[in-house]
């Protein structure tokens, strides 16, 4: 299974945990809201789950790349 991770712009509260944990994947936009780094390499599913679990606002959304369904990371 391959996962994808994206940022829910409305939910993000700028904790910066994803930017600190994975600066190759996330950065801040001009409003200091997290956004994916364009062209970043695809992380492993385990890394994606780890990052999403660590986001306090639940703003990192994990989806199944095949079905597009949201994945519950627990």
């Amino acid at each position: 299974m391959a996962y994808r991770i994206s940022v829910d712009h409305e939910a993000c509260m700028s904790s910066g945990k994803c930017v600190a944990d994975a600066p190759e994947l996330f950065r801040f936009d001009e409003d200091e809201i997290a956004e994916p780094v364009p062209g970043a390499p695809a992380p492993s599913d385990d890394r994606i789950v780890d990052l999403a679990r660590n986001c306090p606002s639940g703003a990192l959304v994990v989806t199944d790349a095949e079905s597009g369904d949201e994945v519950d990371v627990g």
């Binding site: 939910a11 993000c12 509260m13 700028s14 904790s15 910066g16 600190a20 200091e32 809201i33 679990r53 306090p56 606002s57 639940g58 627990g74």
Partner: protein, 402 residues
């Protein structure tokens, strides 16, 4: 639709985590402490909370923590402990509050221009009142009389400490805006002032917000500081082979602090109020109006997650994936403690570089104490605090030095 005033107690880790993330469950832990908590970040909900947090999070990031942990805190810790080390003994409860107040004043943005012992003692007296306010729900005293005294303390503290701190930061921000090369402190007060127009906060909210960060930073870290030292002293009696680790291995010490926080959450319960009906993934239904009590003492000691010795202190424990070593003591979801990484550092992973890792201010302070030979005073045993239903130490005399 049925609105109820029933109370639902959650005792499983999964339910608690689910509840912390539910957008229709509103913070209600501080409902009785409005005198100091009204309009404060942790009491906000929805967009108002998110917008305030977005601004304040700019100061609660790891690059800022790195500066505090490596540059600012070690000197303050050494300076605070030094006179007690010279005396050869101290009450850890007193020292914990003194030390953490000094550190929290830095992060909250409260200046002490005179730098005298008397000035710090007065700030400590004000802070003790603010702590009473935030924990009023657990007070065993006259709550109405306490509210009056706390409100008065806030006003006096504002005049003596907050107003001059505001003035200094406003001047620096003005000079910065004019293009001058000035160093504006990276603290909560400066952050609020810098984003004043965006947040639209009145002076009363700013006053309570800064008071809250002062009390929260000082009080929670002070109690964790004393409890960690107590647990580690007990651990060393059973595991003398770890005596070197507590002085030299900061990762081991950080695990000790995390284990302490798991067993002793700052508040033994979390509380939420249902703004709308909520059904947790386990099927637990929470009607609108219900109060949700999250029993952190029970779920942080769940043997299925933390092993058969879950109720014991064991810094060598490895929790399962997705479970933090400190359990849910810092909460979870959008209200997760904003100072978690500052107090307890970042959770180490395989391959963590000990030289760049963030250990947290409690780890640094506790390790400093073992570096100066902290040990119990055999002639003066520690006593619990009878003035609150919370499990605090009232006095904890220790000896220092070799």
């Amino acid at each position: 639709m049925t609105v109820t005033d029933e109370t639902i107690v959650l005792r499983t880790f999964a339910d608690a985590k689910d509840a912390y993330r539910a957008k229709d469950l509103r913070q209600s832990l501080y409902d009785e402490g409005e005198v100091v908590m009204d309009g404060v970040l942790v009491n906000l909900h929805g967009d108002e909370h998110r917008n305030r947090r977005r601004v304040e999070n700019r100061m609660f990031r790891r690059d800022v923590f790195d500066q505090y942990e490596r540059e600012l805190f070690p000197a303050v810790t050494e300076r605070t402990v030094a006179p007690h080390l010279a005396a050869g003994k101290v009450d850890l409860v007193h020292l914990g509050h003194e030390l953490m107040l000094n550190l929290a004043a830095l992060t909250a943005g409260i200046d002490r221009p005179k730098g005298t012992v008397e000035e710090t003692a007065r700030l400590g007296e004000y802070n003790a009142k603010f702590i009473q306010g935030a924990t009023l729900a657990h007070s065993t005293g006259d709550k109405d009389a306490q509210r009056v005294a706390i409100a008065r303390a806030l006003e006096d503290w504002d005049a003596e400490f907050l107003a001059p701190s505001v003035e200094r930061r406003r001047e620096l921000l003005d000079r910065e805006a004019a293009g001058e090369d000035v160093e504006v402190p990276r603290d909560v007060l400066a952050t609020l002032l810098r984003h004043h127009d965006e947040l639209d906060l009145d002076d009363g909210v700013v006053r309570r917000e800064v008071a809250f960060f002062l009390l929260a930073g000082a009080h929670t870290s002070a109690t964790a500081f004393v409890r960690a030292i107590d647990h580690i002293l007990g651990w060393l009696e059973r595991h003398p082979e770890d005596a070197a680790a507590v002085r030299e291995d900061a990762l081991f010490m950080q695990r000790c602090v995390h284990e302490t926080v798991r067993l002793n959450p700052s508040s033994p319960t979390g509380r939420r109020r249902a703004l709308a009906p909520v059904t947790l993934r386990s099927g637990v239904h929470i009607p609108q109006g219900a109060t949700v009590v999250i029993d952190l003492q029970v779920l942080n000691r769940d043997p299925e997650l933390f092993g058969p010795d879950a109720a014991e202190f064991n810094p060598n424990r490895t929790p399962p994936p997705g479970v933090a070593p400190f359990g849910l003591s810092f909460g979870a979801g959008m209200h997760v403690c904003i100072g978690q990484d500052l107090a307890a550092g970042v959770v180490a992973r395989p391959g963590t570089d000990p030289d760049t890792h963030l250990y947290g201010l409690v780890t640094g302070a506790v390790q400093h104490m073992f570096g100066v030979g902290v040990r119990r005073d055999p002639d003066d045993p520690p006593q619990r605090d009878a003035a609150t239903a919370r499990p605090y130490w009232g006095t904890y005399p220790v000896l220092l030095g070799e």
